[in-house]
Amino acid sequence: MSEAATTTAESPSLLEAMGGRALNVAESMGQFTMLVRSSLFWAIRAPIEWRQTVTQMLHIGVQSAPVSILTSLFTGMVLALETGSSFINLFNEPVFTGTIVSFAITKELGPVMTAVVVSGRAGAAIAAELGTMKVTEQIDALYTLGTDPVRYLVIPRVIAFLIVLPILSIFSDFAGVFGGGLVGYLKLGIPPNIYWHEVFDHLDTEQFFHGLVKTFFFAFCISFISCFKGIFTRGGAEGVGRATTEAVVYSMVSVLVADYFITAILVAIGIT
């Protein structure tokens, strides 16, 4: 009885727990804003670390390209199979399969799937690397050597993401549309010339641009969230694990949320 009473007295009330949580969220948001502000400051005031940036571009590209291309290839394949077989049921032939696959891949699935895959591969790697640097005092060492970690670690990664993610997305677009064509030919009996005719008859640069513009926002979200989670890691190896998981989850969620709002803005300004 007395033990239970002690436990109740020591554990925080619901209101205290909620207040504590709200304070943590507010603190994190403040730190994130400061990180973005500091990045802008150093991007303007100091030369870009191009050596670091190129290294990061290679890391992100090499780590993520095979997985994102493979994912997109199969997404295009399944999309063609679903739409083609549905249209066979409805119209007795797989009409407009190329058009639907190319629209869905270039405007939506290519950029989003690439961003999700890159969050899991490169985003996690960045959070783990910076988190380890934090807990082994390497970030503090940068400060003591008169170098701001934002300038040396964050800006190269953000720039690398802004360059590499759109390129990966273009590769994914090609892979996805090609996958659709492969299934269209092998499973649905669509002749390749018909499939590609359906693709290029309706797809123009505006649709391509619609998908591409999203990737810049996704790159911004993933790179800043991953760097933020890494640089503000607390609590040793366990903290690095937590930071890595949170970086991936928050990056993926932010990509999906941002996707809707960017699409809404693009539709509103007539880029459809």
Partner: protein, 255 residues
């Protein structure tokens, strides 16, 4: 000269520094001793601006780090210092040579690549290392890492060097080698140093003056010989390494 006055710091409910007053003269090796959690590392980090004190001032060459706000002035202030981390904190992705000249690349971007290499070799020779320029930190032993970190700390020839537990985790012979290096660097470069340690053998060997910090306050400052025969019971207990005395440390967390 490093002049700290009334430095206070707390992290949440935990009060770490309760008003530290320390004056380190130019060219002096000042050793700060104290138990785990006494606030000595927090004070050292405050001196270089890694921790911002809640109140008080730390003035180095007329610059008060507690008053500096913009990133550029803080970076400029920090370049006066070299800092040896407890776990060396070498950059895993860089070679030993790149680690050593890392700070110098920002301070002197006009230097040619071959000159950087020559500087790295010189500084490594100063700490007794040769032919390891192209190795990665993961290929080095603990003692070598500490020495490379020391070479990195002095690469830009700072006026001040801060040592955070330089002998912790090393065997007695390597500890003595590090002590000799600290003395040697003082003689050759004339640097002003603050050394944080709980290794009393090391403290007595390298210190010009020793200060003991306990629960965020300086208990006593004095010459090593004075600290050996002090009447202050707490300092005496710590210096002699006795478990009995006025300083009560918990044997078990639930005691």
């Amino acid at each position: 000269m490093i002049d700290a006055e009334g430095v206070k710091k707390q992290f949440g409910p935990r009060v770490i520094l309760r008003g530290v007053d320390v004056k380190v003269e130019t060219g002096e090796t000042f050793v700060l001793i104290g138990g785990s959690g006494s606030g000595k590392s927090t004070f050292l980090k405050s001196c270089i601006g890694l921790v911002r004190p809640d109140s008080g001032s730390i003035i180095v060459d007329s610059m008060d780090i507690t008053k500096l706000r913009d990133e550029e002035s803080i970076a400029k202030y920090r370049r006066k210092f070299g800092y040896l981390f407890q776990e060396a904190a070498l950059f895993d992705s860089l070679t030993v040579a790149d680690n050593v000249v890392f700070g110098l690349r920002y301070l002197r971007p006009d230097i040619s690549e071959t000159k950087y290499r020559a500087i790295a070799t010189d500084k490594l020779a100063l700490v007794g290392l040769k032919g390891i320029e192209d190795l990665k930190p993961s290929q080095l032993s603990g003692g070598m890492k500490k020495r490379v970190s020391l070479a990195r700390a002095i690469a830009a020839e700072p006026g001040y060097v801060l040592y955070d537990e330089p002998t912790t985790g090393l065997d007695p012979i390597m500890s003595d080698i590090i002590n000799d290096l600290i003395l040697d660097l003082k003689k050759k470069l004339g640097v002003t140093s603050i050394v944080v340690t709980h290794d009393m053998k090391s403290a007595f060997k390298i210190a010009d003056r020793i200060a003991m910090i306990y629960e965020g306050r300086i208990l006593q400052v004095g010459h090593p010989d004075v600290m050996k025969i002090t009447n202050n019971e707490m300092v005496r207990q710590f210096v002699e390494g006795r478990s009995e005395g006025p300083i009560k440390m918990k044997l078990k967390e639930y005691d």
